[in-house]
Point group: C2
Chain length 321, copies 2
């Protein structure tokens, strides 16, 4: 009867700042949750020890580790094949960190690792708007642009575990392509992330004299939320910023469709809170550029999961495997 008793999994959403843990039942309910800071543990072993300490009471709450089938970790640069985090620029552990193995030893249950965007895709497939879909592309619009690709019901990990870096597809090959954090120029991420939106706002403000409530703000601290607030007031410039961003993203998604002809694109992350201000231009850009054979086939959807829960649920979904 052991198999039936193990009716919970642990999900860990590891961000640059916080690490959120959830215990999830077979229906996808987060029955208990806890968190620690990700920063402040220069030695990964101390981080794992602090995690286990934080997990203890919530594991006890579901009857002990005997009831836990496994653990899934969604982490920046997480590698599914190796259970490692590799060269993650926004974590303090350098090089290759065997995070899966360390948690396995500490908890005594199987642990799977993947990157954060893949975890979001798994969450969406298990519990969100992609439930029942076999072919879709998850696009996460946060500080950067991440992606998780599902083909024929399976996550695409590629030859090395790092497939699905669509944020680094080049959308401007000219000299004027915006510098990207990856060291290259013109990446999608440099335009269609939350920070890309802020950058577009600064560029448009600098280029024109048009009045806008955005002018009242310190240009260096403008956020995509400020642009949203201005759009809500009917500000023409804010609408123009979303139009530029969404059209470019939609056009690029039309290119992605030629790859795997997905049933849907699922958008997730801070920028989606701009609702129709961003989704309508995405749809327009997509419809304008999609190859005739794919016209009208893929749905453009917003994630069905609460932001704070999606990543934990997604990571936890790996724990069942």
């Amino acid at each position: 009867m052991e198999a039936n008793e193990k009716s919970y999994v642990i999900g860990l959403d590891m961000g640059g700042t916080n690490s959120v843990f959830g215990i999830v039942d077979q229906r996808g309910n987060i029955v208990a949750q806890t968190a620690i800071k990700t920063k402040g543990y220069p030695d990964i072993n101390d981080y794992v020890a602090a995690s286990v300490e934080a997990l203890k009471p919530i594991i006890e709450a579901v009857g002990g580790i005997e009831n836990v089938r496994g653990m899934g970790i969604g982490a920046p640069n997480g590698n599914f094949y190796c259970g490692t985090i590799e060269h993650a620029p926004n974590l303090e552990w350098k090089g290759i960190v065997p995070v899966g193995e360390l948690f396995e030893k500490a908890l005594g249950v199987p642990v799977r690792v993947t990157n954060d965007a893949n975890a979001a895709a798994m969450g969406e497939m298990a519990y969100g708007v992609a439930k029942g879909m076999k072919n879709f592309i998850m696009i996460t619009l946060g500080t950067g642009v991440g992606s998780g690709i599902v083909i024929d019901g399976k996550m695409v990990y590629g030859s090395d575990g790092f497939a699905g870096e669509l944020g680094h597809v080049t959308v401007d090959h000219t000299e004027n392509g915006r510098p990207c954090g990856c060291g290259r120029k013109g990446c999608l991420e440099a335009y269609c992330s939350a920070t890309g939106v802020a950058r577009t706002a600064r560029e448009i403000l600098a280029k024109s004299d048009e009045p806008s409530p955005l002018r009242d703000l310190d240009p260096d601290s403008i956020t995509s939320y400020d642009v949203f607030c201005a759009a809500e007031k009917g500000d023409k410039m804010a609408l123009e910023i979303f139009e530029f961003t969404g059209r470019l993203l939609g056009r690029t998604c039309a290119d992605f469709a030629t790859f795997c002809s997905p049933e849907a694109f699922v958008f997730f992350g801070g920028l989606c809170k701009a609702g129709h201000y961003i989704m309508d231009p995405i749809q327009r850009g997509y419809d304008e550029h999609i190859l005739p054979v794919f016209k009208g086939k893929a749905k453009l959807l917003v994630s069905g999961l609460k932001g704070s829960e999606a990543a934990v649920l997604g990571a936890s979904a790996l724990g069942w495997e």
Copy 2:
């Protein structure tokens, strides 16, 4: 013992002009071959009847249809899911043609259909340079640019059977993007196909006064083979044409790598005959644009199969499924 006896498959490479049939054994040898014209049969039933007539003697040569496990067809706009050819612009049958079903009825063996580039990828995976690979992208450089994508050992067909249209990824989003046969502008195919090379030659000839043996030709009838011949004579302009074409293709393949992180790209088709004149610039463009995490990982290879055999072998590989 029936299973052991059925040791042959039929492969059909259906082109716009010719239809080539091969009977293939389990080691990938084409033991018998025949062909008919594709054109000249306005009714698909007449085409199937003519095919069966042509196949009769070569099926007899392997001991009759009892020894044939199945048939695979590689055809323009072939749909694996439905066994159909759908709206193929260069075939005379309009709409949706149930070619798989018709051959099944006529021959009494299972028939699978896919598009020509996917068939080439299957041939490469079964018998060519991609033997043993689980993740690679096949790029066919002929009149157009086709592609077949293999992820985790399986062909990617997508939600509708039409995945892998990488020839229609947009590489120039400006007003100046070249018109493409698909009705859109700036597609990879408009630049990096054999016809794209000829177009580039005409453009460069018109723009400059530089001497070149290409000037002696009628601009409207220049082919990529003419450009190759000029390159062989050390012509600077011909080298420039290949440099432009290859760099653009390499750069675009670097974008494709972000999708599925393949072990290799396999290039196939007429343009590959230009050898290092095209392959070196492809490698340069790729190396210049590849995301650091993927650097040095994927091999850029030329197909290991003879052009005339690859498509038949690829199609036949479907017959074993």
